[in-house]
Point group: C2
Chain length 233, copies 2
C-alpha cells in the first residue's frame, strides 16, 4: 500500500525514517546533510528534500552551523501514518501496538455512538455486510477473510461517525487489526463472542440506538485490551 519509492528522496526516507524511529540515532544525534548525501549516493538537493520531510514530521530539526539533530521521541508527530508504519515495522512494534490499541478503545465506542445517529442507509448496509462476512469466515481457519471484513467494519464505523478526525483513524485501526492477526500468531478461530458483538453493533447502528452501539463497541475494545494484557485487576 501507500507509495513505495516515489522518487529518490522517497527511497532515502524508506531507509532513514525507519532508522530514526527505531532509535538507531539517539535523540540529540547530529547528522550532516552532505555526509548523508554521500552515504545514500544522492545529490544534496535530494537529501535536503528528505530532511525537510523528516523535519515536518518533527523527527529532526535542522539548524544552521549545527546540522540536522534528531528530536526526542515525545516530540515526534506520532499520528503521521508514515511514522506509524515505520514504527510498526521496527523494534518499537509492541509498544506502538499497545498505545494504538488504547487509542482505539477511547475512540471507537464514541465513534459507534455517533455512527448510530449519522450513518446513511448505505453505510448501514455496508456494516451489516461486513458483520455477516465476519460470521461467514469465523470458523475453519479463514483468518485472512475474517480480517478483511473486520477491517472494513471498523473503517465504516469510523467514517459513519461523521467526524473527520475519527474517520482518519481508519488506516491506523486497520493496521492494528492486521498486526494482531499476522504478528501475534493466531492459530485459533476468532472469539465467537467478539463476532456476535460485531453483529449486534451493526444492529444497534441500524436501529439508531447510540447508547447500545457505544456500549457494545466498548465491549469489543475491552476484549482487544485484554488480548494485550492491558488491564488493571
Amino acid at each position: 500500500m501507500s507509495t513505495p519509492g516515489r522518487g529518490l528522496h522517497g527511497q532515502v526516507l524508506d531507509t532513514l525514517g525507519p532508522a530514526i524511529t527505531a532509535g538507531e540515532y539517539p535523540p540529540g544525534s547530529v547528522l550532516r546533510t552532505d555526509e548523508l548525501a554521500q552515504q545514500f549516493e544522492v545529490s544534496r538537493s535530494v537529501m535536503r528534500e528528505a530532511v525537510r520531510v523528516l523535519e515536518s514530521m518533527h523527527l529532526v530539526e535542522s539548524r544552521r552551523r549545527v546540522g540536522v539533530t534528531v528530536r526526542p521521541k515525545y516530540e515526534w508527530n506520532v499520528y503521521d501514518p508514515q511514522v506509524i508504519r515505520w514504527r510498526l515495522a521496527g523494534a518499537d512494534r509492541p509498544q506502538q501496538l499497545r498505545s494504538l490499541t488504547v487509542l482505539r478503545s477511547a475512540i471507537e465506542p464514541v465513534a459507534a455512538g455517533l455512527a448510530a445517529k449519522h450513518a446513511t442507509a448505505e453505510q448501514c448496509a455496508e456494516l451489516t455486510e461486513c458483520a455477516l462476512g465476519m460470521v461467514a469466515h469465523s470458523r475453519g481457519h479463514q483468518l485472512e477473510g475474517y480480517l478483511v471484513h473486520d477491517m472494513a467494519f471498523h473503517r465504516v464505523i469510523l467514517t459513519a461517525s461523521g467526524n473527520e478526525m475519527f474517520a482518519r483513524l481508519g488506516d491506523v485501526v486497520a493496521e492494528v487489526l492486521a498486526g494482531r492477526t499476522h504478528h501475534e500468531v493466531m492459530f485459533e478461530d476468532p472469539d465467537p463472542a467478539a463476532v456476535t458483538l460485531h453483529v449486534q453493533v451493526a444492529e444497534a447502528v441500524r436501529e439508531g440506538d447510540a447508547v447500545r452501539a457505544e456500549e457494545l463497541t466498548r465491549e469489543i475494545t475491552v476484549g482487544a485490551l485484554q488480548e494485550l494484557d492491558i488491564l488493571a485487576p
Copy 2:
C-alpha cells in the same frame, strides 16, 4: 509559538499551507512548481522543498508530467499540528473546533482514568496546583490567567496517562481551549461547576480513583460539547 519563518521554504508554507487548507485551491487543482516559484519569488529548489512538505502532509500529490495536484480534504493528515493550526486560522475554524472538541470528549476521560493509575507524585502535585490556579482566577474577569491553568491542567492529564498518543494531543487541546476563550467571545467568568469538576478530577487522580476521574472528566467534556451545541436531545 512553533517556528515562524524557519527559512524561505517555511515562509512559502506559511502562505501556501493556509491557502490550500482554506480550500482556495479546490481538490484536483493543478499547480506548477515553476509557476509557484515565480509567484513567491523563490528558486525552484526552495519551492520543491515546500512542495515536499505539503506532500508529506498529504495535502498535495506531485506527479511527473502532470504537476502538483491538490488532494481532497478526506486524505489530509488532519492530525498534523501544522495542518490543525492552518485550519484553525482560516475559514474552517468552526468545523475544526467542533471535530476537535468531539475528539477531546472521547480521549480525555480515558486519559484521566489512566492518569489516576499512572500519575507520579510530581504530576499529582502539578495537577493540584493547576486546579487551584483555576479556582484563583475563576472570578473577576481573569480569563487569561484561568486559561493558562486550564491548558496546563489538561496537558498534565494527557501526559500522566502514560500513553504517548494521548500525550501528543496536549497541544491540540490547548489550542481548542485557547480558541474557546479568545474567539467565542467570553465576557463572563467560567462556569463554577466546571471549576469544581477540575478540582475533583485532581483529587480523584491523586487518590488513584480511576473510575471517578474518568466520570468527572466526562462531565467536563460534556460541558464543552454543550457549549458548541453538539448534543442530541
